[in-house]
């Protein structure tokens, strides 16, 4: 029996290894296909092979204004995310812990269901083409998923835990710190992941809409000058930024959820 399960484990590990190898092979095959197609089939004015994009990276970062635009987008994103959490968390807690939760929730869901993209031109008209409109648009995309997830997390706490803490003489703050906070971590982080995706989308939409400066200006410039190497390089840098932020959040989640053994 034991031998059997051990052999199973070995076979299983080999399978995982093979799956990983196969996945890598699929990615490499796709890149190779892209390389060959772009090199020999497609007009170089429209598509560059991956190798040329990598080689064009230095020239992308030497383009005057590009590092500054990337840096601006990055801190706009950071500020917008902090604002989204700073608003979404208290709003979610207030709604989740209040007696009249059923009354406020539909309002939040209604606002969340609004297609926010249609007010982007209005927002830029109001707040200008600078960072303010981009931060606002990003934050407004992040607030709703975060607060909705917090409401769900608070609702799922078993009442017995609150009552037990209360009967042991915990103060409100202590109940929050030791009962509510640890229990809403998973849904809070789920909300933050959705919120982060929303904030990224909002900031990028606003950056692309404003074509007078920033990322939007450079994508337009590279498109109009038929420079796919630098355009794809810029897109790749932003995509890597998005992936890195996702990974960082996932790490933080594992760190804060480690008390949970199940």
């Amino acid at each position: 029996m034991k031998e059997n399960s051990q052999r199973n484990a070995v076979v299983w590990r080999m399978l995982i290894g093979r799956v990983g190898v196969a996945r890598l092979a699929a990615v490499v095959a796709a890149l190779l296909f892209w390389e060959v197609a772009a090199r020999y089939r497609v007009d170089p004015q429209f598509l560059s092979p991956p190798s040329r994009i990598v080689l064009a990276m230095p020239s992308l970062f030497e383009t005057p204004g590009v590092p500054a635009a990337l840096w601006t987008a990055f801190w706009e994103f950071g500020v917008a995310f902090v604002i989204a959490v700073a608003i979404g968390l208290p709003v979610g807690l207030a709604i989740g812990l209040s007696q009249s939760r059923q009354s406020f929730m539909p309002i939040v869901l209604l606002l969340y269901g609004m297609p926010q993209i249609v007010i982007l031109p209005l927002l830029v008209l109001w707040l200008g083409i600078g960072p303010l409109s981009k931060i606002t648009f990003g934050a407004s995309h992040g607030v709703f998923p975060i607060s909705i997830a917090v409401v769900a997390g608070v609702q799922n706490i078993q009442p017995i835990l609150m009552v037990a803490a209360q009967s042991m003489g915990a103060r409100r703050w202590q109940i929050f710190r030791w009962v509510i906070f640890p229990h809403m971590i998973p849904s809070f982080f789920a909300g933050m992941r959705l919120g982060m995706a929303g904030v990224l989308l909002g900031v990028l939409l606003a950056e692309l809409y404003v074509s007078a400066a920033g990322i939007g200006y450079f994508t337009l410039m590279f498109t109009q000058s038929f420079d796919p190497s630098r355009l794809l390089g810029l897109i790749a840098v932003l995509a890597v930024m998005a992936i890195a932020l996702n990974v960082a959040l996932r790490r933080a989640e594992l760190h804060f959820a480690r008390w949970r053994t199940d």
Partner: protein
């Protein structure tokens, strides 16, 4: 809790929600009429209502709405074809699922709007780039839910149907499809919704026509009252499409 008390609470809830909307309208009215907020930045509610009435009566919205809806239909059709097709094929073996599912899920976490400049370069500023972006964003939820739906059919159902002599077609029609449909339909609805948002977004950012383009154009011309009317119109269209798709989803799931 007694029944009348519950009803009383429900009434209170509705009242609260209604008064929230009313308060919003009141603040808007006061801001324009009393607090002297610039008319260019924030037109009066009555003006917006007149503009909306004019937009609807004159039928000016029709060509823009048609462009947006045609783009949406094409994008969704493309995403369905590729998403359902490749999702079903991947779900046929555990190995393919293990290889491709995490790959697709991680690509899905990158904001797809980044592809818009590239698609504008490939397909131009017309409908082509909007259809491409809409199809790309809606492909992912559809393919992932198809894999999840067809990949998680209980083995015992498949085995028992096989042992009772089901043909491949029968297996698909009576075992796989009913088991997978609820999950797949949710993916289809999500794909539809985000395709619509992506198309409105790409029209706003760079295009010649469509509802998003009209809103951006009116913003540049500083015709805010008419822009508000179009925003309200676009929100209503999105809401109507959402209600229809949610109702369809529920209906399929109930079967």
């Amino acid at each position: 809790m007694s029944a009348p008390r519950k009803q009383h609470e429900k009434l209170l809830s509705r009242g609260l929600q209604f008064s929230f909307l009313l308060a919003l309208l009141l603040v808007w009215y006061l801001a324009t009429a009393r607090w002297g907020v610039s008319r260019i930045l924030l037109p009066a509610p009555a003006t917006v209502w007149r503009e909306l009435d004019d937009v609807l009566r004159s039928g000016e919205f029709l060509p823009h709405l048609r462009v947006t809806l045609i783009e949406l239909a094409s994008a969704f059709a493309i995403a369905c074809t590729f998403g359902l097709g490749s999702g079903y094929l991947i779900s046929r073996t555990r190995y393919a699922m293990a290889v491709f599912e995490p790959l697709l899920a991680s690509i899905y976490s990158v904001p797809m709007i980044l592809l818009l400049p590239l698609y504008v370069l490939f397909f131009g500023l017309g409908s082509g780039s909007k259809i491409a972006l809409g199809a790309t964003v809606s492909f992912f939820p559809i393919v992932l839910s198809t894999i999840a739906g067809f990949g998680s059919v209980e083995r015992i159902f498949v085995t028992s149907a096989r042992s009772m002599g089901a043909s491949n077609a029968q297996m698909f029609r009576y075992v796989l499809l009913p088991a997978a449909l609820p999950v797949v339909v949710t993916g289809l609805r999500m794909g539809f919704t985000i395709a619509l948002l992506a198309i409105l977004g790409s029209e706003t950012i760079a295009s010649f026509a469509g509802l998003g383009h009209k809103i951006a154009q009116l913003a540049e011309a500083m015709e805010t009252a008419r822009m508000f009317a179009y925003i309200a119109f676009a929100v209503a269209i999105v809401a109507i499409l959402n209600i229809i798709t949610t109702a369809l989803e529920r209906r399929v799931k109930l079967q």
